[in-house]
Assembly symmetry: C2
Homo-oligomer: 555 residues x 2
């Protein structure tokens, strides 16, 4: 006879859940004890719940499968919340299994008692506290199905300790995944009409499933067939790019630049993406980035099947046999002498191996990478979907577990790295083939930019205390020590030659590895010089756009 | 004319809020920019929000003042949630200032949009989103007052970015703190009657404000006057102890031991404490630790004034001039040779300086410290009030900022240290006089115990995967590297002689310092041998209790 935990594990494996990212406590001990009876389940221990939730996100993005987490009551879920927020925005299927006190213990309000359902609501539309061993496995099967539903989402199953340890649970059958509708005939007709009538003033904004694999290919056929532009949402969960693939520019983070990308667009067609808005609001600036008068058409809403909808459109347009425009192979030359953020990006683009997975959480420092790596060998890029930093290292854990045969390159800013640095330990423990490149400018550089953009410093006589809030120099973080402290081979580089040598070595040797690249903080003290600086990175834009930006923002 | 952020800062300082523990983002940039105009506010940057919230807790525990946090939207608050949970259980006054998107930006559901109020509800009974610059400062003043109210609590003020940057805010006057009632005459009479009629079968359980200062002194006078026993709640926010102070034993974490401490008690008098319950539930064991038939009397409920109530009781009993029983000075001898958890505790007790603040988050390894340090010079101990580990290092940050003239000694288990290790950086940055002692047994040792206690492993043929979930050996964490990586002087010790030398050095030199003590994991693989092991630490209990425990649990 099985206890609850044993039956739940069998239900999970039966439904295709094969990995669980864990940080268990006492209330999850029966789940832990049941692991040895279930060879189909891999349990990956993390030292902090934010690593578990971010790794689940990375795993789900790259495998397409449901990733499970095992978390300890409301506080464990709380620690995982920021990366679950990112995962929610990435629309990946995740099942949180959160242990709770025994049902009869709740009323005593013991130390760890908290309102788990309320914590979960922020990231989960489906939250359920299991009532008994008899319903545990059907609840589990339902949660797994719902997480893959329309749209993909995070389901949170709260499992009281006595439900786990009691006997009487039965393995439940797999439940059907809710069907995803595709575009309606009316919408399809309207969109086909727009594409035929106004191709030059139409933009197709791709997100979610439309940015890799079949979705991307279909979108590129349509674009080539009608001569319309494609653009990717600003922070995609996963975007495939590089030589031999369609090249899709991402919408810019800075609203000033996004406005230029969107200028003149009269029809915006959304495919698994939301209409573009500014990341933050700024005094006197619009939040909605759409040009006025632009009409929005939804080919695939977030809960719809993007690939089926794109296929329907391509068929209707007769674009199925249209050859898409593909990116030619191209690598930047290797730079020399002292490192900078841009030279680091050039080196990465020059050395990037085939089928790499890039995790990008280098906010300011990675800004030129998309340009330099556009013609590198085909690769996937995973980005910060929800804006909650501390996502990159955990994503790398999950991506590497999902794709053990692919090299993972995690580009992480120094500030971002410190939120979930514990991920390094799991990289070492699981011997994952991940090279972490810490771009260390010893600053929350993005906030130096934002401090100016919100107009907060203009007029301040002294900004010493304010600047100190963004400054990570005192003391300097030593990522070589930090990496070694968690069992990861770690080196520091200051020149291009050193980075080239070390990155070549890391990519040639099974991981994990860490390289700390010391780079100057190019944003400190620059007032309103930001945008011209960024302009240098806009050279891959069509010339008229770049000229328009220069006219608008150059001093 | 002041903008919202400037007026709010002046309102905070006027109401006595002097420290803010921060991890800001774009939506808090105006608050950050306003710091330079407000010399009365100290902003302490942390690299992770859980450090900020835990530091606020430590500051509030030791200063008695309201501590503020500055957090970035729902995800920043989420990262701070676990330590806010601990702070809620500690009943300390904290004001969370959480930046939000501009009011008009919310409807666009941008990347970082989340339901901040819902996240806050888990730890805050008072949550408010500010509607305009005109109400910002009165809302702030109200939040500050409420946080110090009856009971002390966490208030969360959500401040939209445009409220911070808009002009038209006015500094608000200080609002009165809600009065705390004291014990009613009826309850006072009943309790005085119990103490007179059944002193031998009565136990006074002290918590909160009754465990240090005047509250502790009054309780000790009453106990001595009537010959009743005192006991402290299991995880006090702050307990004063050592030579020259009343010695109050803490209720044991393990229910098996707590049951013995409570045996024979017919009347339990609660002073700012809750009736004792088991930390977790265990199959076949009671959650409620009260002996059956025991009557509970509340001298001071959690929202009442414990000191005034104790004073009223002492006056009524004529105990005001009763000399309390005080702990005599006593130090254990220094142990030799290889380190163990117990020897580490002996060394600490031998070397503990005057007026030290001990932060205790060494779950299994610190178990014998209360015994060995009972007669050390007077000190305060701060414990893990809410059970969410990752509290210790942040608490040390806050305690050191509240009491710059007192040495802080943080005892942290290796597992616990990794949740909020980023606190080391803030220790270094603020040059705080904290010695961190990492008790590294390379295991979640407490979970090895719990795995057995919940009965999860009995009967399992192989427990390899289960054991791996509790094992931190592969790879071994190197806390010397980790400490140095964040700018903290760090050493490793394996013998008593080394620890003695290094601890003496650290206590004699301004901090911060870190000592990694490698100790054996005494709990691995011991099955049901746990309790006899613990018995060795019960020798400070009255002999009949210790004998009773031995009879009950020895094999």
């Amino acid at each position: 006879m099985l206890n609850g935990a044993q039956a739940m594990l069998k239900t999970l494996v039966k439904a295709g859940v094969r990995v669980c990212f864990t940080n268990p406590g006492t209330s999850e001990m029966h789940f832990v004890a049941a692991l040895d009876g279930e060879p189909g389940m891999r349990a990956v221990l993390t030292l902090f719940e934010g690593v578990a939730s971010g790794a689940a996100d990375g795993y789900a993005r790259m495998s397409g499968e449901v990733a499970a987490t095992l978390l300890h009551l409301g506080c464990g879920l709380g620690n995982g919340l920021a990366n679950l927020h990112n995962a929610r925005k990435a629309r990946v299927p995740i099942l949180n299994i959160v242990g709770d006190h025994a049902t009869y213990h709740v009323r005593y309000d013991a130390q760890l008692q908290s309102d788990i359902e309320t914590v979960a609501r922020n990231v989960s539309t489906w939250v359920r506290t299991v009532k008994s061993p008899q319903t545990l496995c059907t609840d589990t099967a339902e949660a797994i199905a719902v997480s893959q539903g329309a749209p993909r989402q995070i389901a949170t199953l709260i499992v009281p300790a006595d439900v786990s340890w009691s006997e009487g649970a039965q393995v439940a059958p797999v439940q059907p995944v809710p069907a995803r509708p595709q575009v309606s005939p009316d919408r399809l007709q309207a969109i086909a009409g727009v594409l035929s009538a106004h191709p030059g003033k139409t933009l197709i904004l791709l997100g979610g499933a439309a940015l890799y694999g079949e979705g991307l290919e279909l979108a590129a056929r349509i674009a080539a067939h009608r001569g319309v532009r494609l653009l990717a949402e600003v922070f995609p969960a996963r975007i495939a790019r590089g030589a031999g693939l369609p090249h899709v520019e991402r919408l810019a983070y800075f609203a000033e630049m996004a406005a230029v990308q969107l200028r003149g667009v009269r029809h915006l067609i959304l495919v698994d993406a939301k209409s573009p808005v500014s990341f933050f609001a700024y005094p006197g600036k619009k939040s909605d980035l759409l040009p006025s008068g632009c009409e929005v058409h939804e080919l695939a809403r977030l809960d719809e099947d993007a690939i089926a909808s794109l296929r329907a459109l391509a068929e209707r347009l007769g674009a199925m046999n249209q050859a898409p425009q593909l990116q030619a192979p191209q690598r930047p030359p290797l730079p020399q002498a002292h490192l900078s953020a841009e030279k680091t990006c050039q080196i990465i683009a020059h050395l990037l191996p085939e089928r790499a997975i890039i995790v990008d959480e280098a906010q300011t420092s990675g800004v030129s990478l998309p340009m330099w790596s556009a013609g590198a060998p085909a690769h996937d890029v995973l980005t910060l979907t929800g804006g909650a930093i501390g996502q990159g290292l955990p994503l790398a854990v999950g991506a590497a577990i999902a794709c053990p045969d692919r090299p993972v390159l995690a580009l992480i800013g120094d500030g971002a790295a410190m939120y979930t640095l514990q991920a390094l330990w799991t990289l070492a423990r699981e011997r994952l083939n991940v090279t972490t490149l810490i771009l260390n400018n010893r600053s929350y550089a993005i906030l130096n930019v934002e401090l100016q953009r919100v107009g907060a410093v203009a007029g301040a006589k002294s900004a010493e205390k304010a600047r100190a809030q963004l400054d990570l120099q005192q003391p300097a973080l030593d990522f070589v020590h930090l990496g070694q402290g968690m069992g990861v081979d770690s080196v520091r580089v200051r020149t291009c030659e050193d980075l080239i040598r070390e990155l070549e070595r890391c990519l040639a040797t099974p991981g994990p590895h860490l390289i700390e690249a010391l780079i100057p903080n190019e944003f400190t003290g620059i007032k309103l010089k930001l945008l011209p600086h960024l302009l240098r990175h806009l050279e891959h834009l069509p010339r008229p756009w770049a000229q328009a930006i220069k006219r608008k923002v150059a001093p």
